[in-house]
Chain length 275, copies 2
């Protein structure tokens, strides 16, 4: 196969398998090419991704070595996207009763899920996350998008029992928006012991739901590798302190019909110096 054809196939192959080590002999056999040619192909791929700041091709040396595609979105791309997103969310039509914000269009948009997935996966690229956790319902698209780019499974906690998932482990937590004790649960077999879990949700006010998920993670003898939310509100006392937010709702007033947004702490907290 010619170099040009190999590059097309190799790019698609690697993009579909993020964070997965692919050996040089695998590609050499796939294309019937010498390993030296494959190495040159990979060097082209690596430097093209790096030049665009939208992906990393990592080389692992040695007998068990190969290459690994790491989804990565550079700071300029991330900033541009987040500024646009903050602007789109700052729309009085989105204000819902109770200080909530209508986000279903964003959570259902493949373009937004692509960028958000890439950005969150950039932040956690080297944090050895082995599973993503969210809670039904609106966190699910985010969890799936991030799971795709970290290439690890995601699990969904539920707020009430369903008969269709077998045995579960449950925890009580203090729901900060309603100030009452609530219950969430996860199927027993859905999360392996010793997982390193990234918790993700769409909206954080006090963080009560997030602490509930932290409790669930501990029940599975696992640890919390990170917490990330799409939107945080700025005024409430937070029950969690170490988290990443993409968007900050600086002000929301249902009666006066005011909503003010800005970019969350994501840009400051992310190490973009991999390029």
């Amino acid at each position: 196969m010619k170099r040009s054809e190999r590059l097309v196939d190799m790019t698609k192959y690697l993009l579909e398998r993020p964070h997965t080590l692919i050996s040089l002999p695998f590609f050499a056999e796939r294309y019937g090419s010498a390993k030296s040619s494959i190495s040159e192909d990979l060097a082209i791929l690596k430097h093209t991704l790096a030049a665009n700041e939208d992906g990393i091709l990592e080389t692992v040396a040695g007998a068990a070595g190969g290459v690994r595609y790491i989804p990565f979105l550079g700071k300029a791309h991330s900033k541009e996207y987040l500024a646009d997103l903050a602007n789109r969310i700052e729309d009085t039509e989105r204000i819902l009763p109770g200080g909530f914000v209508y986000l279903s269009d964003i959570l259902g948009s493949p373009k937004d899920m692509l960028r958000i997935g890439q950005m969150v996966a950039t932040h956690f690229a080297y944090k050895d996350i082995t599973a993503v956790m969210t809670i039904e319902t609106k966190g699910i698209p985010l969890a799936e998008a991030v799971s795709r780019f970290l290439n690890v499974p995601f699990v969904t906690a539920r707020k009430k029992g369903k008969v269709t998932e077998g045995s579960t482990v449950s925890v009580n937590y203090l729901s900060s928006s309603s100030s009452r004790v609530a219950k969430m649960e996860l199927p027993t077999k859905s999360l392996a012991k010793n997982s390193n879990v990234l918790i993700i949700d769409d909206f954080m006010k006090g963080g009560g739901t997030l602490t509930g998920m932290e409790g669930l993670v501990r029940e599975f003898d696992s640890k919390v590798g990170g917490i990330c939310v799409l939107c945080e509100t700025s005024h409430a006392d937070k029950m969690v302190d170490d988290y990443i937010s993409l968007i900050k709702i600086d002000e929301i007033d249902t009666e006066k019909s005011v909503i003010k947004t800005s970019i969350g702490n994501f840009l400051d907290k992310t190490d973009f110096n991999r390029f």
Copy 2:
């Protein structure tokens, strides 16, 4: 920019934007290259994807023309994947009370969502779908996966009212598994009029939930462009007749601990002759 570098970038650019027309002048400007060189690049891309039967590059002629990447998974790839999936689902550990099947691991697996999304998008590639609809909770990962490859938004119907999504439109439907009338709803602003909607869900017994979603689609002055389920059970009377299923549960018996599966009607109903 060199051809080799252009091909890497172009492949990534197109894969991230399925079903989107990209003009030749756009690429010519992006790479500072002649349109004739870009045309040659695209011919290489097109024939490499076609040779692997895992994607189509469509050329649109004329002044407003360009190229469009259509996700597509050939019959051999689809059959191989579905045989493996049917085999994985045929596991007595998955049997849940009430004749349900534990599928959360598959619905939370990025590798499965990739293949399932590509396959369903293959079937509906030329059906002018403008939105994907599902119902909470387990259909959401499927809807997102398909939405990604068709590059159209997805919407999530809910079984009960939530205060956090504003005004809704609701319908009653006959839940065939419980033989009672239930209610589902969708936020008023989530679906545009005259949409052509692909309905997707994880599990079909009688199809009552699917008819509920058909009713919702009509309430939004839209039409149903197709129905697709991950698993169907074979024995119940179906309330819908025109649907695609990936996996068929031929037999499930909780007491005897028996589950038998096979490939659904997907392979027979899909036109793979685009290659």
